[in-house]
């Protein structure tokens, strides 16, 4: 280094040395700033000094290394110091620069050397445009403009004639033209090229490496080492002792070796014991992910791909409603299959399911549906019952509300909305007689006594008693006797709301014998099994005059109830015992006529009872209701229905028991008659057996009404049904 520097030390490069010195000044710290700059380049130092320097340096380094490794707070302090140094330095450097600049200004760039023939200074010369002068000379006298200004023509002539025109420059300050010399022109050209103005200046001087990798024999600074670099640091000692103490006390743990246990496995289930297994009784294992079907394949069969409609539907559906969580797609080869965009989502959802989804053990019912169907005796074994439609009785023009079969089973009476009562011969379906009663017939009932032939017809507010005279002589005679008996006794009493009127004339010739005038419209009439009593129903919510019981032989009427207990729908006599059944809207009440008290109240569990029938044995009652149900009551069993049958789709209009066979039937607005087998055992412990055996269809539904009434033949397993289509049908 020294050699190089000495070789370069020539007279020319003194300036450069100066520059370098400036640089070093910048770099030095604050303390070193105090030292004289000359010392820096004191290359003539003795070797001894340098050796000393070296020693101190090495000591420094030793200590500093210690400091770094052992102390934290000391580091911080040092850092702070450094920061301060760095802050200070920039302040220093500008000063140095300014100093240099000042020196230069006065040496070379002084404004004294300027051309000062004109003293106006550095101003725009336009300001003197309107004056005859262009400024003032040193003596303060005006400098006048040249007398004759050059005009364009002069300019042109100069341009053409003067060979120095191109190097002539107009000086605005003095108003004179100056011809540049060759050197000046050269200078301008150099500047234009971006070169230094001085020709002799070498731009590419070799750089002097000041701090290089070469070991220098002389120290960079001549500053003596501090005292603190010779003695061990107290602070450090303190810190070291603290750390030692902390390690001794176990506050600082030695650095842990890399945990090798992670990822090292062993036979975890070497000794399985069953004791832990017992803890897992309550555990519900998570269900596995369902396995994929054909539609998830990358190349599914074509039928599994979505059509456009299906795809549109899939896109419209809510995510939770979709059957498939993805759209099946087809790729012609494996390399075209892209990654599944929702893969991470699905995995994540599975994770959520595993730890967030509440689990519950659910028993899945795995039933063969055929096992659910109850085992019933075969209908074949339960014959006889009506199976086919054999006769249709046509003639009525309105809907046939009510039908009744004579106790002999030979005649059928029907009452219709067209105001007529027709009598049919059962076997031939011939209409034997037609009686016009002058109004819609609501109900019709044949006297069950085989010794008389009488028919009760309910029409508006009257009950007519007809003698159709369709029987043998003996029966007719006894009927006549009965009616004439009435005649004798009748005159005694004529009080009360009900009037008995004997008919004469034309009506008598039609067979209408007695007219019983009621205060309100009568809906139903029914006979007692003996044939002497007749009950009529006038449904009315408010009045207690809803039911009348008439005695035909004595022409007497009585109202059995003092209070209204709801809307009466239908009534019926017990076939054997003196009981009277009253069907109200929700329940059936049973009254003992002898004791004159209520014995039972049957809850039908239906909204509105429409019809009722009593088993010929008298221990069972069936009720049809407008809410499609048929309830079977076992009077010995309970007041609740023994069985509810929901066979019909629409309101049940009529129900009937067969007198001899174990059959009952229900007619409904859906146009069907369902015949059921209902065996009643005399053994009290055995419940009745109810088996539906046949669904009979035939009636046409008109005005939303189907079959209105149903009744069995008294002796044969035949059934008659009347419908809203004006026909009566016989099924045998």
């Amino acid at each position: 280094m020294e050699e190089s520097s000495s070789s370069m030390r020539s007279s020319e490069q003194k300036e450069e040395m100066k520059k370098v010195s400036e640089k070093t000044v910048k770099k030095r710290s604050k303390e070193e700033e105090d030292a004289e700059p000359d010392e820096v380049f004191n290359f003539k130092c003795t070797e001894k000094e340098e050796e000393e320097e070296d020693v101190t340096d090495s000591e420094d380094s030793v200590f500093s290394g210690l400091e770094d490794s052992l102390s934290d707070s000391a580091d911080d302090d040092d850092d702070d110091d450094d920061d301060e140094d760095q802050k200070v330095e920039p302040e220093q450097t500008p000063q140095v620069k300014e100093g240099a600049a000042q020196e230069d200004e006065y040496k070379q760039d002084s404004s004294d050397e300027e051309d000062i023939r004109n003293t106006v200074g550095n101003i725009p010369m336009e300001w003197y445009k309107d004056f005859p002068h262009i400024g003032y000379n040193l003596d303060g006298k005006k400098i006048y403009k040249p007398i004759r200004n050059k005009d364009e023509l002069d300019e042109f002539l100069d341009k053409m004639e003067d060979p120095n025109y191109w190097r002539t420059v107009h000086d605005k300050q003095t108003g004179s033209d100056i011809v540049l010399s060759d050197e000046q022109v050269e200078l301008v050209k150099r500047l234009q090229r971006g070169q230094f103005g001085d020709v002799n200046f070498n731009e590419y001087q070799p750089q002097v490496e000041f701090f290089s990798e070469d070991l220098m024999i002389h120290p960079v600074t001549n500053r003596p080492a501090d005292k603190r670099s010779f003695i061990p640091s107290l602070i450090e000692k303190e810190k070291v002792s603290k750390l030692v103490h902390a390690i001794k006390m176990g506050w600082i743990k030695p650095r842990r070796t890399e945990d090798a246990s992670r990822g090292s496995y062993y036979d975890l289930w070497a000794n399985e014991d069953s004791s832990i297994l017992a803890n897992h009784k309550m555990h519900l294992p998570a269900p596995k992910i369902p396995l994929p079907g054909h539609q998830e394949s990358y190349n599914p069969p074509p039928e599994y791909l979505f059509t456009d409609e299906e795809r549109a539907l899939w896109e419209q559906q809510d995510v939770s409603d979709r059957k498939l969580p993805f759209v099946p797609r087809k790729f012609s080869s494996l390399r075209q299959v892209p990654s599944f965009p929702r893969f991470l989502h699905e995995r994540f959802e599975r994770c959520l399911d595993l730890y967030l989804c509440p689990r519950q053990r659910k028993m899945r019912v795995n039933v063969n549906p055929d096992d659910l169907i109850p085992k019933l005796p075969k209908p074949k074994d339960l014959q006889p019952f009506p199976t086919t439609q054999s006769l249709v009785y046509r003639g009525h023009s309105g809907l046939v509300r009510s039908i009744s079969v004579s106790p002999s089973g030979q005649w059928l009476a029907s009452g219709s909305d067209d105001g007529s009562v027709r009598f049919w011969e059962v076997c031939s379906s011939r209409c034997m007689r037609t009686v016009q009663v002058g109004g819609a017939v609501k109900s019709i009932a044949w006297n069950p006594n085989p010794l008389v032939s009488l028919l009760a017809v309910a029409q508006d507010s009257v009950v007519l008693i007809l003698s159709p005279s369709l029987a043998d002589r003996q029966v007719l005679l006894s009927t006549e006797q009965l009616l004439s008996d009435q005649w004798e006794a009748e005159s005694a009493e004529e009080e009360g709301p009900v009037k008995w009127i004997n008919l004469e004339g034309e009506e008598l010739s039609q067979g209408i014998r007695i007219k019983i005038q009621h205060p309100k419209a009568v809906h139903q009439v029914t006979w007692h099994a003996k044939g002497d009593y007749l009950a009529s129903v006038m449904p009315d919510h408010s009045s207690h005059l809803q039911v009348f019981i008439h005695q035909v032989s004595r022409r007497r009427s009585q109202n059995p109830f003092r209070k209204s207990k709801g809307l009466v729908q239908c009534v019926s006599f017990h076939p054997v015992r003196p009981y009277f059944f009253v069907g109200t809207q929700r329940s059936v009440r049973i009254y003992n006529l002898v004791k004159q008290e209520m014995t039972k109240k049957l809850q039908a569990n239906s909204k509105w009872i429409s019809s009722m029938a009593v088993h010929p044995g008298g221990d069972h009652v069936i009720c049809g209701s407008y809410d499609c149900r048929l309830s079977w009551f076992d009077l010995d069993l309970s007041t609740k229905p023994y069985k509810m049958l929901r066979h019909h789709k629409k309101a049940v209009r009529g129900v009937a028991y067969h007198r001899l066979y174990p059959l009952f039937a229900s007619a409904s607005d859906d146009g069907s008659v369902i015949v059921c087998h209902g065996t009643v055992y005399s053994d009290l412990l055995q419940n009745p057996l109810i088996v539906p055996v046949k669904v009979l269809r035939g009636h046409v539904i008109t005005h939303d009404l189907g079959v209105l009434d149903v009744t069995f033949h008294p002796t044969q397993p035949w059934i008659f049904s009347s419908g809203a289509d004006g026909t009566i049908r016989l099924f045998t």
């Binding site: 496995y265 289930w269 079907g293 394949s297 069969p301 299959v337 893969f343 730890y355 689990r359």
Partner: protein
């Protein structure tokens, strides 16, 4: 009314349950920590039988845990570790805040760590339990092993997952346990039978994931933590059951062979060892080297006559399975670079085939394309320049379909550039009444040993006949080309003749009462009547079952109709193209 009044909701089922918030407070854990604990310990909410009773009369939606479960968590040593970790994080934050980096370093060195061994043992008391639950673990590990090594989770986790999955695949190869494979649009499903347990897992395709923002990776990472531990122990046990060295080692002989080849190309390091393992091309080292394959023969017990048939059937099954395991034995397969190497190599090795690939694709290739003894080359591109005569060029689906069909399917359908037959899911087991796609029927026929070619030929013949007729017609048309209108008219006439039936009056037939039909009708009526007599509850159930059945039938019919429509359309388009 003697005694004190009983308060509501103080006894009964309400005492067995605890809400999540209460449980959290009882354990003194933050919600994330509680979640982690639940995941690790396998505690999940329960749905009480009567929610209103448990919820103290309110119907607000709440999650309930079993109180027993929560009590069980109280004594978990890991809870302490969680707390330690919390303190550690606090200290670390403080050190960072004070910029005390030496403290940070010291703290980091002593980061509290926990092991999950005891939890695995506790959750899966027997090895079979663990195997039964390994599906999810496998899926998760395979997913994590495909993650890029940046961002989302620790690199160590990804590496561990990769290691474990490779070990698992090697085990499946060594035990030949693979049963079914299915290429779906999500990934590739594999099903293996390990120790009598059916295990299914899904491997995503080898693409980088675009990580969604609505997925909580912390939850997934916690699961992975548990699953890696579980899978590691399971692998250990499985390897030992096969007498293999557990951290798996390659067989020495083959390894030496490999070394000679590959030393020049690859630097040997621990990572490259894993890579070699994952090449799946070499057998693993055994603890006790046994040269002969020990075929476990069923011991013969003196049995009663009834069991003889059963035993025979079992033996037959065993034999069949042995044959199926050697499906690809004797095949020498080469994989082109465009096919999924890992999946196919796994598959082929599982069924005893030899497999190799280009040296530049992956480490561990055993032979070259130029090998003359190669029987099949798996190709997934439309055509290939240089073809060898003595080998089949098939598409990768052939291998998958063969595995599922358990026989070597005819290669003709899978040749280069041929439109592939549909790939069916092997997991669907059709019951009678379900829709069975015709391809499945074909494969079933092949399995039975029938040759399905005949039907096709017949079809083709029919088609040819049709074609010839048409051609004749066309010829005629050509003859009368000049008079186009006439020919058109003629054709119309022909058509009309063909279509409209000649009006005929046939003699009326006497309706014979079909006895069978009558009987059937009677039975149907009987059933209908019996259904009417059902109880309400049973009727409801019955209706539901019948509804489900009907829906199933409807769906099957729909699929059949769709297929038919598709086939018809295809046929007509074929005809058009032929014309």
């Amino acid at each position: 009314m003697g005694g004190t009044l009983k308060k509501k909701y103080e006894s009964g089922s309400v005492t067995n349950y605890i809400t999540r918030n209460k449980a959290r407070k009882k354990l003194q854990l933050s919600l994330p920590d509680f979640r982690r604990l639940c995941i690790l310990k396998g505690i999940y909410p329960r749905e009480p039988k009567n929610k209103k009773k448990v919820n103290k009369g309110s119907t607000a939606p709440r999650t309930f845990y079993l109180l027993k479960d929560i009590r069980f968590l109280l004594h978990e040593p890991i809870v302490r570790k969680f707390r330690e970790y919390k303190i550690f994080v606090r200290k670390l934050k403080r050190a960072y805040g004070r910029t005390e980096y030496s403290t940070v370093g010291r703290l980091k060195d002593n980061k509290p760590a926990y092991k999950l061994d005891h939890i695995v043992k506790e959750r899966y008391p027997s090895f079979i339990d663990a195997l039964r639950d390994i599906d999810d673990a496998l899926c998760m590990c395979f997913l994590f092993s495909t993650f890029a090594r940046t961002g989302k989770c620790h690199v160590q986790t990804i590496q561990l997952c990769r290691r474990l999955t490779v070990e698992w695949m090697n085990y499946v190869i060594a035990s030949r346990a693979l049963r079914k494979v299915f290429i779906s649009i999500k990934g590739i499903y594999y099903q293996a039978e390990v120790m009598g347990q059916i295990i299914t897992w899904l491997v995503p395709y080898q693409f980088s994931h675009d990580h969604p923002t609505d997925v909580d990776y912390r939850v997934m990472a916690t699961f992975t933590e548990l699953y890696t531990t579980l899978l590691g122990f399971v692998n250990f046990r499985l390897y030992h059951s096969l007498n293999l060295v557990y951290p798996p080692k390659l067989d020495v002989k083959s390894e030496s062979g490999l070394n000679e080849e590959d030393v020049d190309d690859y630097a040997m390091s621990s990572e490259s060892y894993l890579e070699k393992l994952s090449a799946l091309s070499t057998t693993l080292a055994q603890v006790v080297s046994s040269t002969e394959d020990e075929e476990a023969e069923l011991d013969k017990f003196p049995v009663e006559e009834e069991d003889v048939a059963k035993l025979e059937a079992r033996e037959e099954e065993q034999k069949q399975q042995e044959i199926e395991k050697k499906l690809f034995e004797g095949l020498k397969i080469f994989l082109n670079r465009e096919v999924p190497r890992e999946s196919l190599a796994f598959l082929i090795r599982c069924f005893g085939g030899q497999v190799s690939w280009d040296r530049s694709v992956c480490i561990g290739s055993t032979y070259n394309v130029t090998d003359e003894t190669i029987t099949h080359q798996i190709v997934d591109r439309p055509n290939i320049d240089k073809q060898y005569i003595n080998r089949y060029y098939v598409q990768p689906q052939w291998l998958y379909d063969c595995v599922n069909a358990k026989i070597l399917l005819p290669v003709e359908d899978y040749f280069l550039g041929v439109t592939l037959p549909p790939h069916l899911s092997p997991f669907v087991e059709e019951k009678d009444g379900d829709y069975v796609p015709p391809e499945k029927l074909k494969i079933m026929a092949l399995q039975r040993g029938e040759k399905p070619v005949r039907a096709q030929e017949e079809e083709e013949e029919e088609e040819e006949e049709d074609d010839s007729e048409e051609e004749e017609e066309e010829e005629e048309d050509e003859d009368e080309d000049k008079v186009e209108e006439k020919s058109l008219k003629k054709m119309e006439e022909q058509r009309s003749q063909g279509n409209s039936l000649p009006v005929k009056v046939t003699a009326g037939k006497v309706k014979v009462d079909n006895l069978e039909r009558l009987e059937q009708e009677e039975k149907a009526e009987e059933k209908r009547l019996a259904i009417m007599m059902m109880k309400k509850r049973e009727k409801y159930l019955y209706d539901k079952i019948m509804f489900g059945k009907k829906r199933k039938i409807r769906e099957a019919n729909k699929l059949t109709a769709k297929r038919k429509a598709h086939d018809d359309a295809e046929k007509s388009s074929k005809k058009k193209t032929r014309k």
